[in-house]
Amino acid sequence: MVAAHHRKWIGDRMTQTTTDQADQRIAKMTDKPPFWRDVRKLSWGFQIAVLSIVLFVLYILYNNVRVNSQNLGIPINFDFLGQPSGFTIPANPLRETQAVKHAFVQGYLNTLRVAVVGLLLSTILGIAVGIGRLSGNWLIRNLTRIYVEIIRNIPLLGIVMFSYLALVLSVLPKTEDSWSLGALFLGNNRGMTVPWITGSMPLFLGLVLVAGIIAWAVRTWRQKTSERTGEPGREMLWSVPIFLLIVFWGAVILGNGLTTPSLEGRKVEGGMTMQPEYFALLVALVLYTASHIGEIVRGSIQAVPKGQNEAASALALSSWQRMRHIVLPQALRVAVPSLGNQYLNLVKNSSLGFVISYFELVKVTSTTIGNRSPAVPAYMLMMCLYLATSLVVSALVNYANRRMQVAS
């Protein structure tokens, strides 16, 4: 029926074509198309072609590594992880006879040390800067703006080198004339010393965690009570002392103590000393990341509808309460994905410690390669560690993001 209609249509249009030719054309149209015109087959063919090209390139790369390593007599396996590392890391218990894998662990821990502390500090500083950028105070507004515009537009490597070579190594005094804040802080060009906990660290961290959970529960209970009765909750007045009391007495029971730095002639005794490389890297990373976080926080605060602030103002909330309870919670919700990106960057940027000989992952890897570890597997291992860290961080950020989104 349809075919007859088509034939008539085509026959009418093309006066030169015979009915036979029209029949053939129709047969072509109604039959299954040939494979080079079948969209589904074409798409699979195309994808298989792309895949095989990629696999082929990867195979060539692998083969080159194999052949080149054979020619040079270098193995391409991970046996080197068991061999002695042959180097030491300043202020680290690693011995030269310990295996390369222990060196990798220490390097990775050093990366985490600078990344985690940097993450906390740069978030605090970044939020302060972001709020300062929108402050009603002309001086604060412009100071934070100058800070952001300077730091954001110079290379991080320059900041790292400046903070190490020009500040920590040049400006800080020798040990005997250390800068001192009583028992709280001692600073010299051999390191920064702060009070620290003695005794078992894991136990202490567990204690802090338990105390935190209890304090949190008390805070929630006070909030609930306040909501039910209408009395002021005074959550902080309850939860903070409880937290401090539990930590204090827990530490006494667990045998944790406090050690404070003091200057004994030319040596610093007690406390915990941050290596100058660590300190310089930390300062540079925090300054750099905070300038980026500041811009993110500013953007997110501006994204909160103005009416929210005005409504809070109409309820006679103070400017601190408006920020703390109304604006920031909504702003940070917007900011989470971009903040996550900055945290990822921070972890990766900690690799710049390499340049000032801070023994983080990259520096450890290149040092073991200098000590006759095979380059390709060692770098592969390093890349995998970074990749895994990035994936974990972004999974955490995604989780936080999902948790913080308003249910729609």
Partner: protein
């Protein structure tokens, strides 16, 4: 009047006043230290003596004419582009009644407001030189770009595509022309940073667009490959990749084909930045409503035509500021090439200066680093200001 301003902006409440006093005190002290360093205690001879080394690296004196020619050619090209863009803006403004054309005074003020960091830095550099050559070069750049601007204003708007293509070809020819004089592995100084950044930007942009399209494609295998590539390169640090290129690249390619340091750096920068460009472009692609694609298809356009003529122009326009931001960070990241591959770029070269015989052991690192970072800052800051201006002019986020 002044007291009202002070009260409103600095002393609104007790807390505010304390903040102002503390911050003002800190600022005053910092400014005092800074000014004293710049004008009194800083020893800037090391910069003055080594200015050539910082800017052009170990570029031989007799080959400098090549560099001069290239700079002038680039200035002419930039002038042409800006002239054409100005013409387009003028035409659009004529269509749009709301936009008042700028008066000459306003234009001059906006130019000064936008370009003072770059202009100031160039002036500082000129004041530090002791020969007339750089002054002549700057004058030449101004004249040539002005001529280019006027010629660009006469060109038809359609010439934009041809001009872009011509610009890329000219860029390649110019680099070849430069390498005739000095092989690029012995380049150094700021020229090296600019060159690495420019060539990597030109290369990573198309690659990134392809990756972004691949990541949004309907073919699962293509999508998987592009996603894996992007996530892989975004998950590892650039410095690690550069070090790996330095030590381990020789294993991945047949012996005898191992390239020089500059090629290694360009390859790494391109592969790395392409992943970031891809993510930015993907965001842009997502911002284009699906109806655009459907409308294009309904007009009987092929998917490729729809992408090329309808989707990409809108997507890229939406992400110009982020792209510029990425290119700025690429420019800043070129310093890592110095640290990882041992090239004497601006930053590493500046650090090396303090080890010269007549300057060794004098603690001049602060002086050189501040000078070097000032140059980087002027470049990046100007670029980011321009991209913000572009953002507000395109009205992104205001619709």
């Amino acid at each position: 009047m002044i007291s009202a301003w002070l009260k409103k902006n600095l002393f609104r409440s007790t807390g505010d006043s304390i903040l102002t006093v503390v911050a003002g005190g800190l600022l005053g002290y910092a400014a005092f230290r800074m000014l004293r360093f710049v004008f009194v205690t800083g020893r800037w001879t090391v910069i003055k003596v080594n200015l050539n080394l910082l800017i052009t690296g170990a570029w031989p004196q007799e080959e400098l004419w090549r560099l001069t020619t290239v700079i002038l050619a680039l200035a002419a090209m930039a002038g042409l582009f800006m002239g054409l863009a100005a013409k387009q803006t003028a035409l659009e403004a004529a269509d749009d009644d709301d936009v008042e054309p700028m008066t000459a005074g306003e234009r001059a003020r906006s130019l000064v407001g936008r370009l003072w960091p770059a202009a100031g830095t160039v002036l500082l550099l000129l004041l530090l030189t002791e020969t007339a050559g750089p002054w002549l070069l700057v004058a030449g750049v101004i004249v040539v770009s002005a001529v280019g601007w006027f010629v660009g204003k006469q060109l038809p708007l359609k010439a934009k595509g041809a001009l872009t293509g011509g610009g890329v070809v000219l860029f390649a020819v110019l680099i070849w022309f430069l390498t005739l004089g000095v092989s690029w592995n012995s380049w150094g100084g700021m020229v090296l940073n600019l060159f690495l950044a420019a060539i990597s930007i030109v290369l990573c942009f198309p690659f990134g667009v392809v990756l972004a399209l691949g990541r949004r494609s309907e073919y699962p295998i293509v999508r998987g490959i592009c996603t894996a590539y992007v996530e892989l390169f975004r998950g590892v640090p650039l410095l690690g990749l550069l070090l790996m290129a330095n030590v381990a690249l020789g294993f991945f390619i047949p012996r005898g084909l191992v390239p020089g340091n500059v090629v290694k750096a360009i390859v790494v920068f391109t592969l790395f930045s392409a992943a970031y460009v891809a993510e930015i472009v993907r965001g842009g692609l997502q911002s284009v409503p699906r109806g655009q694609l459907e409308a294009g298809r309904a007009m009987g356009m092929s998917p490729i035509t729809v992408t090329r003529k309808i989707i990409l122009p809108q997507a890229l326009r939406n992400v110009i500021p982020s792209l510029v931001g990425q290119f700025i960070s690429l420019f800043k990241d070129t310093t890592l090439a110095g640290a990882a591959l041992g090239m004497t770029d601006l930053l590493t070269g500046g650090q090396v200066l303090t080890a010269q015989k007549e300057f060794r052991g004098q603690g001049l690192i602060a002086e050189t680093l501040i000078f070097v970072l000032l140059l980087f800052w002027a470049g990046s800051f100007t670029m980011s200001q321009e991209s913000q201006r572009l953002e507000s002019r395109l009205g992104i986020g205001e619709r």
